[in-house]
C-alpha cells in the first residue's frame, strides 16, 4: 500500500511539474506596447500638423490606433492560449488585470472628450504604472516592478511640471516602464518559471 502511495505521489508531482509557467507571451505584450506607443508618439511628435489637422484628428489617431493594437494583442493572446492548451491561475490573474486596464483606458479617453482641460496622458500613465507594479509583484520579476515604480515617480513629477511635452513623456515613460522591463523579461532565464 505504501508503494502505491509513493507511486501516486510521484504521478501527482510529475503532472504538476510538467506545467511550465511561460512568461514569454507576457513579455511580448510589454515589448509590443512599448514599441507601438513609441512609434505613435514619435510620429505625432514629428508630424504634429498632420496628426492635429482638425479638431478631433489627434483623438481619432490615438483611439483608432490604440484599439487596433488592443485587438491585435488580444488575437495574439488567444492564439497563444489555444496553442498551450491550458490557462494557469497566474495567467488568468494577469489577463484580468490588463483587461481592467483596457476598460479604464476607454473610461479615461471618454472622460477627456467631455471635460475641458482634462488631459488623458497623466491618469493613463499612472494607471499603467500601478498595473505594471502589480504584474511585476505577481510574477516575482523585479525589473517589471522597478519599471512600474519608475513610471509612478515619473507620473508624480509630471503633475508638478505640466508644461512638459506629453508626447516625450509618453516615449520616456513607456520605454523605461514597459519596453525595457519587457525586453528584460523576454531574455531572462526565469521567463519559463517565475520562481526559477
Amino acid at each position: 500500500m505504501m508503494n502505491t502511495a509513493e507511486k501516486q505521489i510521484e504521478t501527482i508531482n510529475n503532472v504538476i511539474n510538467s506545467t511550465k509557467e511561460n512568461l514569454k507571451p507576457l513579455s511580448i505584450n510589454f515589448i509590443f506596447w512599448g514599441i507601438y506607443v513609441n512609434i505613435l508618439s514619435g510620429f505625432h511628435y514629428a508630424f504634429p500638423s498632420l496628426v492635429q489637422s482638425s479638431k478631433y484628428s489627434a483623438a481619432i489617431y490615438w483611439i483608432i490606433l490604440s484599439i487596433i493594437g488592443m485587438l491585435f494583442m488580444a488575437y495574439y493572446n488567444v492564439k497563444v492560449r489555444k496553442t498551450v492548451g491550458y490557462e494557469t491561475h497566474l495567467s488568468r490573474v494577469i489577463k484580468i488585470i490588463w483587461g481592467v486596464f483596457g476598460v479604464s483606458w476607454i473610461y479615461i479617453i471618454t472622460l477627456s472628450f467631455y471635460l475641458k482641460n482634462y488631459h488623458p496622458v497623466p491618469p493613463i500613465l499612472f494607471l499603467l504604472s500601478l498595473l505594471t507594479i502589480m504584474t511585476g509583484l505577481i510574477i516575482k520579476f523585479k525589473p517589471v516592478t522597478l519599471g512600474g515604480i519608475f513610471l509612478t515617480l515619473f507620473t508624480f513629477y509630471l503633475n508638478f511640471n505640466p508644461e512638459i511635452n506629453l508626447l516625450l513623456v509618453n516615449i520616456v515613460g513607456v520605454s523605461l516602464g514597459m519596453l525595457v522591463p519587457g525586453l528584460s523579461l523576454f531574455y531572462s532565464k526565469s521567463s519559463n518559471n517565475p520562481d526559477g
Binding site: 500500500m1 505504501m2 502505491t4 502511495a5 509513493e6 501516486q8 505521489i9 504521478t11 501527482i12 503532472v15 504538476i16 510538467s18 506545467t19 489555444k82 498551450v84 492548451g85 491550458y86 490557462e87 494557469t88 491561475h89 488568468r92
Partner: protein, 90 residues
C-alpha cells in the same frame, strides 16, 4: 480514503487541473496518455461526482471541451494528497 482518485487517469486529470484555471481536452489527452474515449468516460465520471466542470464551446466550427476543477474537487484532491502522505510516512 477516496478510492475514486486511485484511478490513474482520473488522478492525472485532477493533478493537472489543480494548478490551472482551465485545461483543454487535447491537453488532458496528452497528459493522461489515454485514448479519446477513455478520457471522455473519466471526465464524465469526475463531472458526475462534482469534482470538475466541463465547458463545451465551438472554435472555428469545431467543438472544444475545456475543464476546470470545482471547489469540491479541490477539497477532495487535497484530502486525498494528505492521506497519501500519511500512508507514505506510516
Amino acid at each position: 480514503m477516496d478510492k475514486f482518485l486511485f484511478n490513474p487517469i482520473r488522478l492525472k486529470i485532477m493533478s493537472s487541473l489543480i494548478n490551472k484555471s482551465q485545461c483543454d481536452f487535447n491537453y488532458l489527452k496528452k497528459v493522461t496518455e489515454s485514448t479519446q474515449g477513455n478520457l471522455s468516460v473519466q471526465l464524465k465520471k469526475l463531472k458526475e461526482e462534482k469534482y470538475i466542470e466541463i465547458e463545451k464551446t465551438f472554435s472555428n466550427n469545431y467543438p472544444k471541451t475545456s475543464c476546470s476543477i470545482t471547489e469540491n474537487g479541490r477539497i477532495q484532491f487535497e484530502e486525498f494528497f494528505k492521506n497519501l502522505i500519511k500512508m507514505k510516512n506510516s
